[in-house]
């Protein structure tokens, strides 16, 4: 059994895989994971698999935002974008596409041709195009993230230049009397506006959409309508990086 771990900024994704595919997966709040299942040693962090309820694994491959700061003892560490490309190819069976990953604190766009990464963009140091921003906006609207992510019609105009000031802008719109569907669509549309320039030079006919944000249909619809592309959301969008680690084999150059 191979273990793939994606150490994200908001959540840690862990998968167990074998030749027949995905066998098990776990999702943890990042801080909880480090606090409850990580133990610092002189050689790095040891993951307490028995405490998670996992038997011994044959290999561990890890990636994610923590990869420069966290060493998991005995794990092979691979670059995050690589993990996502490998995961998306494995999940979709596609070889040429543009991968859009919207995670907790960052967004990535990667162009893949014949199974190889040929170009990429990541967001600048700003949270206004991330899952974290959506969480905050859902809280302001008093709805769940899941509900927020459904809407795309008649978006209210928002110019959120900043994830925090966007909240007060949204409150102003609520005061004007707009309904939740239009307000939520407006929030989703600001995400689209933020990632559009990143997609510009890296677009393909098919966009594979991953990360926690891809669980909602609203942004998928916006991408299809506004860019005229086919959007494919794999079965486990949020686990994509961890799956990439689980299927990654050293020396297998694509």
């Amino acid at each position: 059994m191979r273990c793939g771990i994606d150490l994200g900024s908001r959540s840690v994704k862990l998968v167990l895989m074998n030749e027949t595919g995905l066998q098990d997966s776990r999702l943890f709040e990042t801080v909880d994971f480090y606090r409850n299942y990580g133990r610092r040693t002189d050689n790095g962090m040891v993951v307490d698999f028995p405490a998670i309820g996992i038997e011994a694994v044959d290999s561990i491959t890890a990636t994610g935002y923590g990869r420069n700061t966290i060493d998991i003892v005995g794990a092979k560490i691979i670059p995050e974008l690589k993990a996502h490309v490998v995961g998306a190819i494995w999940q979709t069976g596609l070889e040429s596409f543009t991968l859009l990953d919207l995670g907790g604190q960052d967004s990535k766009v990667i162009k893949v041709q014949s199974g190889r990464m040929v170009g990429f963009e990541t967001n600048d140091k700003c949270a206004a195009s991330t899952g974290r921003y959506l969480e905050n906006m859902a809280t302001v609207l008093g709805i769940s993230l899941e509900e927020l992510s459904r809407y795309s019609d008649n978006p209210v105009e928002l110019n959120a230049t900043c994830a925090i000031f966007g909240e007060s802008e949204l409150i102003g719109r609520i005061v004007e009397g707009h309904g939740i569907p239009e307000l939520a669509a407006g929030v989703n549309y600001t995400i689209f506006k933020r990632i559009k320039p990143m997609l510009r030079s890296l677009l393909s006919e098919t966009v594979v959409f991953t990360g926690g944000v891809a669980l909602g249909k609203g942004i998928c619809r916006l991408l299809e309508q506004e860019l005229g592309v086919k959007v494919v959301v794999p079965r486990h969008p949020q686990l994509n990086g961890a799956i990439g680690c689980g299927v990654y084999e050293k020396g297998k150059r694509r």
Partner: protein
């Protein structure tokens, strides 16, 4: 003997011919152990948070008693933030000497600028030419360090950056700097080859990151071309000093820089290019021109304040190097 600060590379021959000590303020700022404190000090005085970190560093270096008597400020050919920097220097009672590189590389205008500086500092064209010949000897040695970097692979990206960037002011002491260069050449001539498999070019202003070169080497990539630093070392040998500062690409338009970069990409067999941009800098706009005109993969990274490369930038570097393999 006055210490004359400079905001970027200017005809340093004139300062030396006048018997003064040239001080590149950028080098003083970034090599200070407390560089980030210098930036904060400028912000404490009222410099905005969203303004270039270099400008703030330069301000503090001079104002907080950096032992600088006058400042030659480049009003054209570097950055318009320099205008306000000069004004805040004046506010602090520091003497300013403006210098402008003509946008269209006009020979007569450039000669006139140099002539005015010669008059002001009380030297002559003959003395300036004499100093130029002296500096050319040292520049030739630094050009050899550059050659050893890309052709013999015995010099690191960091040393390539360091020796070339030091040619803006020759560390204020030409003979001493030359001895350092001689010693380094002896070492580098006998050093074993670097074996990184990825060869990178670095374009844009010098980095505010303190460990970029070593980080790149830790992931198996080495910088074998430093664009602007090489320009500071005057890589085009020519006898006419005015012509030398006309051929120098940095203060003029981006298309002249692109010609130079293209030739070096070819010559040095580069796998990719890192375009460094400073936060809040107008040069971020030029990124789109580089992407249009250069035929190699480009990674654009951004730095704001002095310090180590941040986790996000490391992630981008790792992915870029991985992509080039």
């Amino acid at each position: 003997m006055s210490r004359i600060g400079m905001t970027t590379t200017v005809p340093v021959e004139i300062i030396l011919a006048a018997g003064q000590v040239p001080v590149d303020l950028n080098n003083i700022f970034i090599s200070d152990n407390q560089a980030s404190v210098l930036v904060e000090a400028a912000e404490d005085e009222g410099y905005p948070r969203n303004i270039c970190g270099w400008i703030k560093g330069l301000y503090s270096v001079v104002v907080s008693g950096g032992n600088i008597d006058k400042v030659i400020a480049v009003t054209q050919g570097d950055c318009s933030n320099t205008h306000a920097l000069m004004e805040t220097f004046q506010l602090a009672g520091i003497e300013i000497i403006p210098f402008a590189f003509p946008f269209d590389r006009d020979y007569d205008l450039l000669r006139l600028q140099m002539d005015k500086l010669i008059q002001l500092l009380g030297t002559s064209w003959e003395d300036v030419q004499r100093v130029k010949h002296r500096l050319d000897v040292v520049r030739k040695k630094v050009a050899e360090i550059d050659r050893l970097t890309w052709q013999e692979n015995t010099v690191s990206g960091w040393h390539n950056h360091l020796y070339q960037i030091s040619c803006s002011d020759f560390n204020g002491n030409v003979s001493e700097f030359e001895q350092t260069v001689d010693r380094f050449l002896l070492q580098a001539g006998a050093a074993s080859e670097f074996d990184e498999d990825i060869r990178l070019g670095y374009i844009g202003v010098p980095p505010i990151f303190t460990d970029l070169y070593s980080y790149l080497e830790s992931v198996g990539a080495r910088v074998v071309f430093n664009e602007v630093q090489r320009q500071f070392a005057m890589p085009f040998p020519v006898d006419d000093i005015v012509e030398q500062y006309r051929l120098y690409t940095y203060p003029y338009g981006v298309f002249g820089r692109i010609e130079d970069i293209r030739a070096e990409i070819e010559k040095r067999n580069l796998d990719g290019v890192i375009h460094y941009v400073q936060s809040f800098c107008f040069r971020q706009i030029e990124d789109m021109i580089f992407r249009e005109k250069l035929d190699v993969p480009i990674l654009t990274i951004e730095g704001d304040k002095p310090g180590k490369v941040d986790a996000r930038t490391k992630l981008r570097i790792d992915s870029f190097v991985e992509m080039l393999r």
